[in-house]
């Protein structure tokens, strides 16, 4: 029976269940926050309890777990019993993949469903890699930022393989939506963990170029700015000395619009010991209203512009300004360590 249909036949009226005595939920004498269960929900769970307590690992029990999951997809006990049955019946796990795909097409935001999917994929082994990657790809067609699906995809790559096309896939997702932070994160995941890419140091240069291009199309997009900073995560020396970073800041500041992330990155450079060029100082100058032209320290002036351009975080930028001296010290210390 397809439990999606409206004309659901109650279990009590199905001959194949006539030998089972349902076990009602014992809520005790003084239940707190009771739930007004619908009839079909309560009945399904009553039969499930009976089958579960009898440890009946049968085809009809498997079918019953499908119905229970339909009503109650968060119930981990039902899912866990389903796995016990699947193992006992030595069921074809490809059918199980279809079952999960059908459920996910209706609601893909459920931890139990994804845990179950992983269990199946793990049993199938590396042969499953392609289908799993395809499965998550289909989820992303409707919701490109689905957190569960991204977790699953990363697990598949790390445990079953399929890295070959992953960077190209990130390219494609970012082409579709340059603001997709999940895709930027996946890109970082690939360049740092893909066993064939040789790590971040080797790929940094080309990634920096790619990211700068993305930033220049939409300087208001936070994601590539964070990604760019992330490319230098363990190498602050390269961050401060790579002229591409400061040139990017200069370009965006010169355009005078959407400057907040450029200013923020510039501030980051400065506290890590970067010496600003005259061009950069000039670009900064042109952003400061004359009346505010008081501070001689470049980093302090960056904070001042941020206070004006990002008024929501004015207290934060003021605090950054007030703590500048100690931060520069930290930055210099960090530099000498590397």
């Amino acid at each position: 029976m397809d439990s999606d249909e409206d004309e659901r036949i109650p279990l009590s009226q199905r001959p194949e269940w006539s030998d089972i005595t349902p076990v009602p939920q014992d809520d005790g004498p003084n239940p707190v926050v009771p739930i007004a269960y619908s009839e079909e929900f309560a009945e399904t769970m009553d039969y499930f309890r009976a089958v579960y307590l009898a440890d009946e690992r049968s085809h009809r029990a498997l079918q019953l777990t499908s119905e229970a999951i339909h009503f109650n997809a968060g119930n981990y006990t039902v899912w866990q019993f389903r796995r016990v049955i699947l193992e006992a019946l030595n069921a074809d796990l490809h059918d199980e993949l279809e079952f999960v795909e059908h459920l996910a097409s209706k609601n893909s935001k459920n931890y139990q469903l994804w845990h179950h999917r992983r269990w199946v994929a793990e049993k199938l082994g590396s042969e499953a890699a392609g289908r799993e990657l395809e499965f998550t790809k289909n989820i992303f067609l409707n919701d490109a930022k689905n957190y569960h699906a991204w977790s699953h995809r990363q697990w598949v790559l790390q445990n079953l393989g399929g890295w070959e096309d992953e960077l190209a896939y990130c390219d494609k997702l970012l082409e579709d939506d340059i603001f997709n932070n999940s895709a930027w994160n996946q890109r970082y995941f690939v360049i740092t963990r893909h066993p064939g890419l040789g790590g971040i140091e080797g790929i940094r240069d080309s990634e920096v170029n790619y990211t700068i291009k993305a930033i220049l199309t939409k300087p208001e997009n936070e994601s590539p700015w964070r990604y760019l900073r992330g490319l230098y995560k363990n190498n602050m020396k390269a961050f401060v000395t790579d002229s591409k970073v400061s040139t990017l800041c200069l370009k965006v500041l010169t355009s005078k619009v959407n400057c907040v992330f450029a200013l923020s990155l510039l501030l980051d450079l400065l506290v890590h010991g970067f010496e600003p060029t005259q061009d950069l100082k000039n670009a900064l100058e042109s952003l400061i209203p004359e009346s505010n032209n008081l501070d001689s320290d470049v980093a302090a002036r960056v904070c001042l512009v941020l206070e004006i351009m990002d008024p929501m975080r004015v207290n934060y930028w003021r605090w950054r300004k007030s703590s500048l001296s100690s931060h520069v010290e930290d930055g210099v210390k960090n530099l000498s360590v590397h």
Binding site: D26, G28, P34, N72, T77, Y147, R229, R313, H327
Partner: protein, 357 residues
Amino acid sequence: MADDDDLLWSSSTDRGSEVRLFDRNRHIMYLQMNYEILPSGYEGQEINRLTLAYFIISGLHILHALDHVDKEAVINWVLSLQAHPKNEAELNNGQFYGFHGSRSSQFHSLDKEVSVPNNSHLASTYCALAILKTVGYDLSLINSTSILKSMKCLQQSDGSFMPIHTGAEKDLRFVYCAAVISSLLDDWSGMDKEKAKNYILSCQSYDGGFGLIPGQESHGGATYCAVASLRLMGFIEDNLISQSTSSCIIDLPLLLDWCLQRQALDGGFQGRPNKTSDTCYAFWIGGVLRILGANQFIDEKTLREFLLTCQSKYGGFSKFPGQFPDLYHSYYGFTAFSMLQETDLNSLSVELGISMF
């Protein structure tokens, strides 16, 4: 617990509300109604009934309205959900003996010799203890040895926690649950703090936020679990930003910047960059900022305005402006207003996720 796309049954809209003040009385009515009986829309979450009860009871406490609750009944009900090993041998069988999330995952046998399935869960255990603490129950009366001793089995070699011994996803949410449980029971023998710390640190992403697992995208809920756990375990101090950052075990400047950038133009907090503002992140991210001692950097006026657009005229809060309320977003709406120091609200222990007592 920390999913940004959380609860799913409220899609119809609820427009035309002109209320622009925090409507405490309506919120109390809303929680009271749900305390009496939860509508069938919640049946799909019945496995987490303790969590729903936690939202209601702790919510009423934040609203200064705990007198509406029958404390005796609550205590007996919560205690009845604890899983007890039959004997010492059973305690050492690798299962977790915490609290069941609801009666539907708890089974009894009349035959004392027969073992019944045990489905107790870390998140339910956290909620059970949080409720008991909220209604004033003395937690030293609990048999905590069985909880803590068996909780050890849930910790993985990488330091993360699985929530239930029959198998489930492992991530920061359950590290947090283990940390609060240990903190509430004032006993850390049930977890390896050092391992847990290393797992948390491995979840800090290149942008400064934390993902639920290493390599995953930074997320408001995961970031809360990370920072609150580190605080509970004593690995970071209160008011971290007033101290020198160079000795800090996390990348504090990046974390701080990432958190503050989550306040969007509409005043609300988003859970991830370039996503829509959502009521609950006013707590998840706002809570992190509070632990770090950086809540004075929040634009409180616009945050308050955003939250009020999510306040329902029937009481409670919705995820997005103008929708019907749900318990999850209502609770985090209340906690957010408590952190905003709304009058007549109890103050919060941010890292425990419950009101002060």
